[in-house]
Point group: C2
Chain length 713, copies 2
């Protein structure tokens, strides 16, 4: 017996001593090390090509009314595995997605409490994902999270592209600064919003894009945010350590979990090539596979809308200016005086349907169609809309028939005004109304503070709601584009009817004072890491006072930049946001918007630098067409791109829509040039983009006979 | 011009000086005086038969972020009117109800803000009701209530029957004490509860019953609590002034209103005869008339239930003891080991159906029929029940067929566990399930803290929900009996499908340690002022250890007292709560429960003293039968009643179920006597009731031939 005991003790000792675990990425460039510090605190660190990228960082959670899950752990066991498969999304930047990682599962047991905690690490070539798992167990059944204490310890005072940490809004311009400068720049970074609440002068949101002095790109985000509260990051700017800062509920608790449960994945992307950050599908790959059996009804949408004229103030959502307030079902609109500025009226909508039909758009969105817009905002109003009662001048039947006769779909609008219970009470009838009148998609909005009061847009309560609305929409075969909701974290893999979110500072803010001209060179590195954005581009008239003399906003972009956005700001849902009359001033530029595809076989990021430029080429799904887009930042720049993505032996016409040489986002935004070229896989282009400018290229296969008179690139 | 100006000024002065307004009750016994104090503070006072009952008391509201509605008012105008009509309730204590009052409408304008406030007073013979009205106006559209400041200034240190003011529970024994003693007795009055929160050591709930040293009875309550938060009362025990104390929401606000809006009615009943308090229909009369077009499906219900055996701990709601927790839709109950104590199983339910059919009961309630009871409580669990998925041993189809074949209805049970959003998400499918399986009524429950967290059972948010559930139930022709919801305030007039509430300390607490023996002599003066109570009486086995050896609770009541409750504790929904085997031990006593009616042509309160005794006679609707009930308090007492309520020239058999002479709620609760008498309108009865005892009498018309051998009263 003695011999066996000795051997067992030795093995036990060996296991305890070799608690340190390491994990490599498939290509070996990334290495993650896990271990337990003294007091049994789990920590990890990450290195890239042999150099530390994330210093030793703690893991764990602080619980309410229970012993914390922070320390006193030992490793009960570990398991390594690898995964490599390819799957097909319903829609996306590419036809197929490879999911390849090495995984380490670490099983921890907490000595005194006997509780188990699993930390699962997945190391992809482009980055690390890890999450906490709380197995079903006797000693941990229901628990309340006081705070998650996941650290991301930076190796230096990196440059970051950040927006202020906030429980309710992401609609901020990005600030580019050193981490050490966040504190001093914080207050001026907080632009006003309908609903917002910051928590720390060094709090920031994810995804957070950073660049080190050594030219490494680091991106922090989360994937699969389900039944949990959103993770902001709080920076300890003495030690340059970020720590997770979850969103509280009305009573200050940060999460209610029931085992078995998992946290979302915390993700760290690392590369010395910025394009890898944009190319990565890690966020999607960390989500659960598609749960919808039938996805035949889910289709990308190119649309226009009765919307921009209200955003600019030219028209109104409201029907009348006579009412101090509205009580749905009691207020008799037929007795009020129309204000003459209500855009969502039958005749005007038909004009949009005509325009959409003429120019090959799939659909028309109409906002302001339903009773309630006179007092919808800023009153903490509970029963704010019923989502089914049109204004007197919006004939839903007539519009339905007209749209059908023209082969155009209608997009529904559900502004919830943050009144979540009211929306849920009406959700079934609202979706049934959509089915009845053939609205295949809805743009939902959550403008204003959340009701129930005390809850936040990014708390577990609201996050549960957003998914509830998407799942119920799927039951009705409805696609959802949720604005002001939580920024996406890859759930579109599981629920591909979630075709869009805004959840960042979109084009509308160009009419609310303007956004930074390089905003669109940052968004794909930050907001779009978790999913597409309904950025609603395509503004041709930059001087908003031309639409509404009382609004002196200026759209800080050139027309060429606006065209490029259809390629660079990936979304299966793309709006031509401006008014038909503004498109008709530049029908040749408008042609690009009409031609550009929405769904892709392949996407190739040709060049990218956060804050400066992004150039991407995408192949239209099931076609030989390609589209290229370049968005440029604050400095004029010449882009040099190779067309080696084109199929060899094929001949193409490339139509290049670019800034005119004297264009400028501020002083001369509407100056553009259109040039047609003959191109093939050997072609190259050197193209100048102005500040806030860019270029867009449509590339279509053509016979040599069609291109022989064109200049060759 | 001068003359006219002088005259106008005089009139204006006259109007200003005669701001004091008085209002009389129809019989002239009550007089209300309204005026403005200095600084334009509205005040009122009330006198009865020339003596002050309510001293000068302030009115008004404190608003958040706006000038308060407390002072700086002047009277813009007043209007007096009278009302006298009779209406017919769908069910009730009487077939017809007279609504007779004099009304004073006072229109106030606040000088600086230009805002209008109306205070409407209605003076009935039995009391005063008044409410605030906020007319639609430009300067007051949306506002938030910080606190309502309605005072009720007492004329002395009255005796009160009170429960601690609380935002979440009314399930307390009443304390009888002087107002000055509330503070010292407060802490011991707070019995433990699943969800409770007090706010002041002199806070009490309504309705508050009081008796002055001069023998006047005063009752404070509210009527028509809709889209507002519940009013508790806080006592300034130096000055003996009660002030309204509303229930806050998660962020501390006490109400969100949009004009035009009204507050609930604040009611003050006054009489020198305690019976007038019980007879009064003022609370109902202050509510809006019936809104349901078709009420043919609304019927009183006499029922039994698979319930008391779980309350006593003999059986369990839960199916298995194996699970630490349940995830609905994931947990596979067929793989768990039944605990053998799950009462809601098909065979056992059929036994109840048999018993109900045999003994003429309308329906059987079953609790614990649905998945989720293993961890439903105390975990702040959101997705706690789905209300449609039965346990493996509850065959809903089979039970449906069996019940139908026996002519017995099933009563549904929806325990929400306070998870309001979860209930609302499932409400339609839950009611559809009821329709499908012919469940005409549901007992709903709200045990535990409300989710969304931070909200309270009596806040505006939850109150909005309770009414939403009742209105939606009416759409499905479902009757609702809501437990742990807000105590009723007469809404059954407007929604007669609200057939019951518990919302006070009911019979179940007899199995949780017992209630005071005189509890049932107080409840009709307090809890029942706003509506009937599903008190679930009829316990025949007082020694709970006989059902569950681990539960040594004792039911502090005699059998005769239990029988009387069917008459004294008015409810259109009456349960025979005990187990069939306990009824079969005393089939002769059980006969009264089988005979007693549920709906009434007339109710006559023969004698009443809060805390001591109540004796009431009621005439069965559409029948010549009468039923009499007496419940007695802590001291033995002999009741002397006249039968002059009977129709003259008719002959009746009166079956008197009374305490045996040696009965006692504690030591000999099951000792009763049954005596039959011949009675007519000239008869009298002198009947002794023991402590915690009482008597019940069924009186049925009979031929002289049937009664000739009976003793005559």
């Amino acid at each position: 017996m003695k011999k066996i005991i000795c051997l067992s003790l030795f093995l036990v000792a060996a296991i305890n001593f070799s608690v340190a675990q390491s994990l490599q990425s498939p290509n070996g460039e990334l290495q993650m090390n896990f271990s337990l510090e003294e007091e049994g605190t789990p920590v990890y660190k990450l290195s890239f090509k042999g150099n530390e990228v994330i210093k030793t960082s703690k893991l764990g959670l602080e619980l309410k009314e229970e012993e914390d899950l922070l320390s006193n752990f030992s490793v009960e066991g570990t398991e390594e595995s690898s995964f490599d498969n390819t799957w097909t999304p319903v829609w996306g930047e590419s036809k197929e997605i490879r999911n390849n990682y090495n995984e380490l599962e670490v099983n921890l047991v907490q000595e005194e409490t006997g509780r188990n905690l699993i930390i699962r690490f997945r190391l992809f070539n482009e980055g690390l994902g890890f999450r906490y798992e709380f197995p079903e167990q006797k000693d941990l059944v229901y628990f309340v999270i006081e705070e998650e204490r996941t650290q991301f310890a930076m190796t230096g005072d990196h440059t970051a592209f950040w927006i202020p940490g906030d429980y309710d809004s992401q609609e901020y311009d990005y600030t580019e600064s050193k981490l050490s400068e966040i504190r001093e720049k914080f207050d001026s970074a907080v632009q006003p919003n309908a609903s917002q609440e910051q928590f720390s002068k060094t709090g920031v949101q994810t995804s957070l894009m950073m660049k080190t002095e050594d030219g490494l790109y680091i991106n922090l985000h989360e994937a699969a945010l389900v039944e949990y509260s959103l993770m902001n990051l709080n920076l300890d700017d003495e030690n340059m350590i970020f720590e997770s800062w979850l969103t509280p509920d009305a009573v200050g608790n940060k999460g209610y979990l029931q085992t078995p449960a998992v946290s979302p994945w915390r993700t760290i992307m690392v590369s010395d090539d910025a394009r890898d950050i944009l190319v990565s599908n890690m966020n999607l790959n960390l989500n659960e596979p598609n749960k919808l059996e039938d996805t035949s009804w889910i289709k990308p949408v190119k649309y226009m809308g009765v919307w921009w004229e209200m955003i600019t103030g030219k028209s109104s959502w409201a029907y009348t200016d006579e009412l101090a307030s509205v009580k749905l079902g009691e207020t008799d609109y037929s007795k009020t005086k129309p204000n003459g500025k209500h855009a969502a009226n039958t005749e005007h909508v038909k004009e949009y349907i005509d325009f959409a039909a003429e120019h090959g758009f799939d659909a028309v969105l109409v906002e302001g169609w339903n009773e309630g817009w006179e007092d919808w905002f800023g009153q903490s109003k509970d029963y704010v809309f019923d989502f089914v009662t049109p204004y007197p001048d919006f004939d839903v039947e007539e519009i339905h028939e007209y749209a059908q006769s023209k082969g155009v779909k209608m997009i529904m609008h559900h502004e919830t005004s943050g009144a979540i219970r009211n929306y849920e009470r009406h959700l079934d009838t609202a979706y049934q109304f959509m089915n009845k009148y053939d609205y295949p998609a809805v743009k939902s909005g959550y403008v204003g503070d959340i009701i129930p009061r005390g809850e936040h847009h990014y708390g577990q309560w609201a996050i549960n709601h957003y998914l509830y609305a998407v799942k119920k929409a799927a039951d009705y075969k409805v696609m959802v584009n949720a604005h002001e909701a939580v920024r996406p974290t890859g759930l579109r893999r599981t629920y591909p009817n979630l075709i869009g979110n805004e959840s960042a500072r979109g084009t509308e803010f160009q009419a609310f004072g303007g956004s930074k001209p390089n905003h669109v060179t940052i968004l794909p590195f930050t907001r779009l890491i978790g999913g597409p954005m309904d950025y609603t581009p395509g503004i041709f008239e930059m001087d908003i006072s031309k639409l509404n003399p009382d609004n002196d906003s200026h759209v800080n972009s050139t027309i060429a930049n606006q065209l490029a956005l259809y390629v660079t700001m990936y979304s299966p849902l793309q709006m031509a946001a401006d008014l038909p009359e503004n498109y008709m001033k530049f029908p040749d530029a408008f042609q690009f918007i009409k031609d550009v595809a929405l769904d892709w076989d392949k996407s190739i990021y040709l060049e990218a630098e956060p804050g400066d430029y992004i150039t991407v080429a995408r192949k239209e799904k099931g076609s030989s067409n390609w589209f290229v887009g370049n968005v440029n930042g604050n400095e004029a720049r010449t882009s040099m791109i190779q067309f080696d993505f084109l199929e060899k032996e094929k001949n193409y016409i490339a139509t290049v829509y670019s800034d005119a040489p004297d264009a400028h986002y501020k002083t001369n935004p509407q100056a553009y040039e259109i040039k047609k070229y003959r191109v093939n896989s050997k072609s190259e282009l050197s193209q100048k983009s102005v500040p806030g400018g860019g270029y867009a290229i449509s590339i279509m296969e053509a016979d040599k006979s069609e291109t022989k008179d064109l200049k060759k690139l």
